[in-house]
């Protein structure tokens, strides 16, 4: 390990025993920071550490980990669920929650031992923090400076609406908007930064301005009747262009073009959309993000130990915890629930470090660019900045790691009575396994391809949605119908959703309300 090479002098332990106090936390933070910035070369937002109780941790859980969230019954539902499973001992509480904001807010729990506090600081305040600040997806899609202000704005705004229009009315809109959360994301255009002052100003302007725009749009209706079909087609095309069809961001489309919503209802859709957008990069980088944080805490804790800044007892407690976090149960284990992002992430980071420092011939063949470059940190930092889970796996998953995890690909075709093992961790299978695994993390497999394709403005104002089926996977019908009912509430007129075969363009299944 590189740490033992560099450091010779032993220092006094930062702390001893399980109890923590503010002084110890502060001292440890300074020590951790020194390693993180000087040895690992991390670049982080300033940190704000907040000590909370386990009850407050439960509270924070229920509102998707955000410190200020608007009120909605679904958060109460997840609260009672988390609470029950916590009290029964089915699940522990997270040891930390970290928020992608500037300053980066880390919650640490009162009940943690001092070892855990040090670990959490290394993991969240430096690992996640560095990732948030440097990864291109976060840089592009989220705005750490404004998120807290925006949440505050959202909370106040929704509370204001509840007072003015009644809790029930607001709840209806939120229910419907939540149902479309997964369809409320701009995937292809860069979002504007959230600016709270401008936000308020805009809100006012929208209230004044937008109504006129909508009526303008609908006023074309009566004229159309007298025209011939060509002209109608032309107008339709123009209209589609004006509406920006096809549009995959359903929430955006409804917010802008729904004929039945009031301006406050549009604003609520906007809020839900903005928050969904904020979480979008997290879903795409879960594995890397955890891998980065685990790698950082692992390196830092080891270095603290090597320099004598933590005791053997602390180190043992850390190793015990760390091993549990990065455990990967086999597919046939009762504990198996998919690939553990901590396990795969951490293993890949360590593997990259190994390839940089001690490559084998196989590594040289597979990774000529980095093998033996002896710059593990620079290589890792570059990867953390420029990749997402999908591309990271395609680029860096090594044959050695596939062998270690004993990965195999199971092809599941529902038309056949058998699953097929079509590739395993051998020379013929490496590439297939790797692309299959990468595909599991791709946007295409995370999100369904559903778009607004047509709006019938001549007739009954019905909306047509298209779902492009990937790999023959249709929608789960019961939920799909319920979501369509929600869309209908927001659009006000008939909705049809067609599931289309991607190749032939034929309608496989059609749902309407």
């Amino acid at each position: 390990m590189s740490a033992s090479k560099k450091v010779k002098t032993k220092m006094a332990p930062l702390f001893d025993g399980a109890e923590w106090d503010f002084d110890k936390v502060n001292r440890s933070f300074q020590a951790i920071q020194k390693i993180a910035l000087e040895d690992l070369g991390l670049n982080v937002y300033p940190t704000q550490i907040e000590v909370i109780t386990s009850e407050q941790m439960l509270d924070a859980y229920s509102s998707v980990g955000m410190p200020l969230m608007y009120n909605h019954w679904s958060f109460g539902k997840s609260f009672v669920r988390d609470e029950a499973s916590y009290r029964k001992g089915y699940s522990g509480l997270a040891y930390e929650i970290v928020i992608n904001s500037n300053p980066c807010i880390c919650y640490i729990m009162e009940e943690n031992s001092m070892t855990m506090q040090a670990l959490v600081m290394a993991h969240a305040a430096f690992g996640h923090n560095h990732f948030f600040k440097n990864n291109h997806l976060f840089k592009q899609w989220t705005d750490a400076n404004a998120i807290l202000d925006y949440l505050q704005f959202a909370r106040t705004y929704i509370a204001k609406c509840e007072r003015r229009y009644g809790e029930r009315e607001v709840e209806k809109i939120l229910d419907s908007a939540h149902a479309l959360q997964g369809q409320g994301i701009d995937k292809f255009t860069r979002r504007q930064k959230l600016d709270i002052a401008a936000q308020r100003q805009k809100e006012l302007e929208r209230e004044e301005y937008e109504r006129s725009r909508y009526s303008e749009l609908w006023r074309t209706l009566p004229e159309v009747k007298s025209k011939n079909t060509d002209e109608i087609d032309l107008i339709e095309q123009e209209l589609a262009q004006k509406l920006g069809l096809p549009e995959s961001n359903l929430l955006y489309f409804l917010e802008k073009h729904s004929p039945v919503l009031d301006s406050w209802q549009r604003e609520i859709l906007r809020i839900v959309r903005q928050i969904a957008q904020y979480f979008y990069p997290q879903r795409q980088t879960k594995m890397m993000n955890e891998g980065c944080a685990c790698f950082v805490h692992h390196t830092i804790m080891n270095r603290l130990y090597d320099t004598g800044q933590i005791t053997e007892g602390t180190m043992l407690e850390f190793i015990d915890f760390h091993t549990r976090v990065i455990a990967q149960p086999d597919f046939d284990s009762p504990h198996f629930s998919g690939i553990n992002p901590y396990a795969l992430g951490f293993a890949m980071m360590k593997d990259i470090e190994r390839i940089c420092e001690n490559p084998t011939d196989e590594d040289r063949e597979w990774f000529p660019a980095i093998a033996g470059n002896n710059q593990p940190m620079a290589t890792l930092r570059e990867a953390w900045e420029n990749y997402r889970d999908e591309s990271f796996i395609l680029q860096y998953l090594s044959p050695k790691l596939m062998r270690e995890f004993r990965l195999f690909n199971l092809h599941d075709d529902s038309a056949k009575p058998h699953f097929l093992v079509d590739a395993i961790h051998n020379a013929q299978g490496y590439r297939a396994v790797r692309s299959a695994l990468a595909a599991q993390y791709s946007v295409a497999s995370l999100d369904l391809d559903i778009q607004v394709t047509n709006v019938d403005l001549h007739g009954n104002r019905s909306m047509i949605l298209s779902h492009n089926i990937t790999n023959g996977m249709t929608l789960e019908e019961k939920q799909a119908r319920q979501v369509i009912a929600h869309i209908r509430r927001l659009w006000g007129y008939d909705i049809t959703l067609n599931s289309l075969d991607t190749q032939s363009g034929k309608i496989i299944k059609s749902y309407s309300d």
């Binding site: 300033p46 704000q48 019954w73 229910d175 149960p329 089926i469 929600h486």
Partner: protein, 439 residues
């Protein structure tokens, strides 16, 4: 670079409002679950919440999701043991989607239902929600309403004793200011000046003119004072009260319990639990219900709550003694014309054979006509219930009471064989919807 904030003292329960929203939304399901839950559990007078499980219908948060049973997909899994490419694995049966446990199977329940804990208060509120004392307001005393006086603003008429001085004086002051009623000081001042002028031994022409002017002014002001009185009838306000008709809600509940030797520990435990719950219900829903505790062996006596629930006694069984005590208490303290009378009796059904007829007589002739509702609960322990599973083996007292029930609407009999019956029985007995009750 770092900032540490101690948030432990921040208010907790930030999710409380979300929790209440959720409970409100799930009210119907929770109510059902609560009713279900109590069937299978002991009534405890312990603290702590109740864990309940509700179906997720109506609480679902639908999303567009793919149907995992359709189409094609690749899944990369770890931990290959001996698979080689080309191996075929038989598809597992449909439930528990796919290999191993994927999401959903993990927590054992999936999306179909979920469990959580209600606080004791939340639980009791929901449980007692649809229970009520039947015929709570006696028809005969409905007319005899009680009047209560409530403050109801101010009035221009009223009796002097209700005169509202503050408001009257405020009105008076306002009127006097508006109409420029001369104040005492102004008059005094004028009079002083006049006296001073008059006392002058040799007034000049100018002084005389001034005196005349002053006298005129004085007279004008005094006239004005007469026209604009200090207190005008217009100013006067009286505090007003209105009568509110309040229906008479005097109610008394008699709790009659057999504590004789034939009642085993389990019987007593059951009976006590029943009354404990009944008591809890009464105290919670009706703040002003009198509860009378009577226990009996071959003798009966009125006791206080503490003794009723906690002390031990033993002896023979004569049920009618308890009924007699109840009758006497009604005669002495609760004139039936003024009171809604309820009774609940618990016994193991043992009685001196010769006494049954007397019980029937007292009940049908004396007590039932006076009572709004009389509930009889017979406690059996589980052994007895197993030995005599069908209804043909009933106790004599039960037989007797059964005949009474047939002829009296306000009489109900129920059997309790285990702690799990108590909640439902109580619930049936006091269900708000009286059509389902009485059996």
């Amino acid at each position: 670079m770092m900032h540490i904030i101690d948030r432990r003292l921040n208010p907790k329960g930030k999710s409380l409002s979300n929790r209440q929203r959720f409970l409100g939304r799930a009210r119907k399901q929770i109510k059902k679950a609560v009713d279900e839950a109590i069937k299978g559990r002991k009534i405890s007078n312990t603290d702590g919440g109740e864990r309940i499980k509700i179906p997720a219908d109506g609480l679902g948060e639908p999303r567009f999701v793919g149907d995992m049973t359709k189409g094609m997909r690749d899944r990369v899994m770890p931990g290959n043991k001996d698979f080689v490419p080309g191996d075929k694995i038989k598809r597992p049966p449909p439930q528990g989607q796919g290999q191993g446990g994927r999401e959903g199977a993990e927590d054992g329940e999936g999306e179909d239902s979920f469990q959580f804990t209600l606080t004791r208060d939340e639980f009791l509120d929901i449980f007692f929600e649809d229970m009520a004392l039947p015929d709570f307001i006696k028809k005969s005393i409905k007319e005899e309403v009680v009047h209560e006086y409530h403050r109801a603003g101010y009035n221009r008429q009223g009796s002097p004793s209700n005169l509202n001085l503050e408001l009257t004086m405020r009105n008076s002051l306002a009127r006097r200011l508006c109409l420029h009623r001369p104040r005492d000081e102004e008059i005094d001042q004028l009079e002083e000046q006049i006296t001073a002028l008059r006392e002058k031994p040799a007034p000049t022409e100018k002084e005389q003119q001034k005196l005349v002017a002053l006298l005129e002014e004085l007279e004008k002001k005094q006239r004005k004072r007469r026209v604009v009185p200090y207190i005008d009838p217009l100013d006067v306000r009286y505090t007003s009260f209105t009568e509110i008709e309040k229906p008479n809600t005097h109610a008394v509940m008699f709790c009659l319990m057999d504590v004789s030797g034939s009642m085993g520990e389990t019987h007593k435990e059951l009976a006590k639990r029943f009354f404990m719950l009944l008591h809890l219900f009464l105290v919670r829903q009706y703040s002003k219900v009198d509860v009378i505790f009577i226990r009996h062996t071959h003798l009966a006596s009125e006791v206080d709550e503490e003794t009723f629930f906690h002390s031990r006694e033993t002896g023979g069984t004569i049920v009618s003694t308890a009924l007699e005590v109840m009758q006497k208490i009604i005669r002495d303290r609760y004139p039936p014309d003024d009171w809604n009378i309820y009774a609940a009796q618990a016994s193991d059904g043992d009685n001196l054979n010769s006494d049954n007829a007397r019980c029937q007589q007292i009940l049908t002739r004396d007590l039932l006509p006076l009572c709004q509702y009389f509930a009889y609960v017979e406690v059996w322990d589980t052994h007895e219930a197993e030995m005599f599973p069908d209804d043909s083996n009933v106790t004599r007292l039960w037989q007797t009471y059964e005949t009474i029930r047939e002829s009296h609407q306000n009489f109900a009999v129920k059997k309790v064989t285990g702690p799990e019956d108590i909640f439902p029985v109580l619930h049936d007995l006091f269900a708000k919807d009286k059509t389902s009750e009485a059996r």
